[in-house]
Amino acid sequence: MTDLASSDRSTTSTAPRARTSGLSTRMIGWLQAAPLAIVLACFLVLPIGMIAIVSFWGATEFSIYPAFQFDNYRFLFSSPVTYSVFLNTFKYAAITWACSLLIGFAVAYFLAFHIRSLHWQIGLFLLCTIPFWTSNIIRMISWIPFLGRNGIANSALISWGVIDEPLDWLLFSDFSVILAFVHLYTLFMVVPIFNSMMRIDRSLLEAARDNGASGWQTLWNVIIPLCKPGIMIGTIFVVTLVMGDFITVRFMSGSQKANVGRLISNDISLLQYPSASATAIILLCTVLIVIAILLRFVDIRKEL
């Protein structure tokens, strides 16, 4: 963005009608920002504002009515369900984050440093995206027959003699929920980390080696710090996606577990829009706080 703006400024200043340049530069700046600003205002700020307003409304079984009351929030904060569900949401987010970071980092590292030719790097990177050609839901649901009591996983384990009885916890459990999350969202970790890694100046690695650093020391002291922006962007993707996803939790836990998204979707399906809005606002605030904390660790603007 800064590049674009400065190049624009240079073209306008070299333009023949230099006397209007002061005003028109500012105008052009506004005009350039306007389309995105309008789109965001209409499709992001306005709806969120509406949700915030509705969260104070009241509801009966059949209708919602405008009001300004704190009932929805009062109920939300006084219900033990809210706390256990938020805790569950954080649990899913944290474990998924840790797993996808480990896997995503390893994959990106392999692609960036072990594959020498650019063609192969791009080829293998595209290979990683192939699963994304099918829908999220299909990729998720295909785990169900795989993990089931009589599924492929269990029958394989039994035929290898590892277990005698089918493992019940493979499906409809926290395990299957997190497995699906990791499967669905790890690529969001791979992409930004790979991107950061490709920007690392290779001579830095040579310098580290010349100075006698071991492989682990190079990784810990050079690569990881330089990948921080990528890790942080990936983290924001994964955490926000997991915290908002309810459909994975519903299918993979067989409706037996709940996260905040499911609470909201239950409220919506039962026509409790104000209560759903209140929960949504709390979730939004929580996610924003989490992102704010994450951004404390890395100044993304500087690092990019």
């Binding site: 079984e61 089931g148 499906l171 409809f172 037996q256 577990k257 026509l271 409790q272």
Partner: protein, 419 residues
């Protein structure tokens, strides 16, 4: 009839008269081709076959959208312009009708109104029947007139929904994996089936199953299962939460397909289930029984409601559709999957004597029974689980319900899922 045709003339011109009075689509064949009615409802009755047959018989296009019960409620209550015909269940009607999104139907335009079974009119299957607990269809079936948002206590000539389909639900079991007779609702919480039981995750229906189980266990005596007090709700959830924590349930299901997959894959051996889901499991060659239980059935009924914004030629087409619906072809189609038609006697014309005997009268089949898709459902010599129409519908213990304490119940349901 004279009034009616005059109104039609004013609205849609002479071409429409033929249809609303004579039911002869040929006259306005050209115009009717351009009509599209959008219908939505649950997967049980929103079948493409019906849409195709409508096109053949009536000439207009019927678009079908199948959703789960909660989505159906939501759509009917919040997006009145997104549909023309709502194929909804009676308990959903209780939530949707007060929003004013549906219009009442004039029964004088319904040809087979007199033949609709009593359950939907005065609540009685036979004159001696006792009316079951819960949201029985007749309690939400009538209003005083067009525009009225409260239900009438008796037949008024203005119907909220035209009844189309109903059934008595019970537990489905896998006899091959259980290997002994199942007789009572209590078996759902029997520790013998730990990790292999399931109920549905639709609160208004699930709570009724729970109530059947708790009552059968002798743990709770309900004043009215279909309209519980807060204490009764608490007690019911306490029992089921304890069972859930002990690992009794494998999963909860929300859609028809989920219940079929759970049962067919053997993840679950006993669960609350819908009759055609059993049919679907059976047609994969997997044994599955719709087990009649001594405490009786939990029943449900569905019907067709018309969007408030439907008028003119579309409205006439919708009445045509309703009359066609009750005329028997759909009834036969549905009954051959194990449901009942609101007008059984017209369905008889579209079924063989063997099929009628098996599905309606509970007689042993004389030859193999196939479903409408041609899959063999049952062999000659067998008879239907639960017996005849009157045996089954006569032992309904409760109807799916929306209670006065619904909001409280829903919150408790969320707690149960999150526990």
């Amino acid at each position: 009839m004279a009034n009616l045709s005059r109104r039609s003339v004013l609205k849609t011109g002479a071409a429409a008269v033929g249809v609303s009075t004579l039911g002869a689509p040929m006259i306005w064949a050209q115009e009717i081709k351009n009509i599209t009615l959008r219908q939505f409802g649950t997967g049980v009755s929103n079948l493409n076959e019906v849409g195709q047959k409508v096109k053949e018989d009536l000439g207009f296009t019927l678009e079908m959208t199948a959703l789960d019960s909660d989505s159906v409620t939501q759509r009917a209550a919040t997006q009145p312009d997104s549909f023309d015909i709502a194929d909804i269940e009676y308990w959903i009607c209780k939530k949707v009708w007060p929003t004013g999104n549906l219009q009442a139907m004039d029964v004088s335009k319904i040809k087979n109104y007199d033949k609709i079974v009593g359950i939907f009119k005065d609540g009685k299957l036979t004159p001696e029947s006792v009316i079951a607990q819960g949201t029985a269809p007749h309690t939400v079936g009538f209003v005083e007139g067009q525009g009225s948002t409260t239900f009438a206590d008796e037949e008024t000539g203005w119907m909220t929904l035209i009844p189309t389909i109903y059934n008595a639900d019970t537990l489905g079991i896998r006899p091959d994996l259980i290997g002994r007779p199942i007789e009572s609702w209590t078996e759902l919480l029997n520790p013998e089936f730990k990790g292999k039981a399931s109920i549905l995750d639709i609160s208004s229906i699930g709570i009724m199953d729970m109530a059947m189980v708790c009552e059968a266990m002798g743990e709770i005596q309900y004043g009215d299962k279909g309209n519980m007090t807060q204490d009764e709700i608490d007690a019911t959830f306490a029992i089921f939460t304890e069972a859930k924590k002990a690992g009794q349930f494998r999963a909860f299901w929300k859609t028809f397909d989920e219940s079929v997959n759970l049962m067919a894959s053997g993840e679950v051996v006993i669960q609350s289930m819908w009759s055609p889901a059993i049919t679907a499991v059976k047609s994969r060659g997997i044994p599955c029984v719709y087990q009649p239980l001594k405490e009786g059935y939990r029943s449900w009924g569905g019907g067709i409601g018309l969007s408030k914004s439907l008028s003119g030629m579309e409205l006439d087409a919708a009445y045509d559709y309703i009359n066609w619906y009750l005329d028997g072809w759909v009834g036969g189609f549905l009954m051959r999957q194990g449901y009942y038609s609101a007008v059984p006697e017209t369905s008889k014309n579209h079924m063989t004597e063997n099929e009628w005997g098996y599905w309606f009268e509970g007689k042993p089949a004389v030859e193999d029974i196939t479903n409408p898709y041609g899959d063999v459902m049952d062999q000659a010599g067998n008879s239907r689980d639960g017996g005849s129409f009157y045996d089954r519908m006569g032992s309904v213990a409760c109807w799916n319900a929306v209670m006065d304490e619904n909001q409280y119940m829903v919150r408790k349901w969320n707690e149960f899922i999150a526990s």
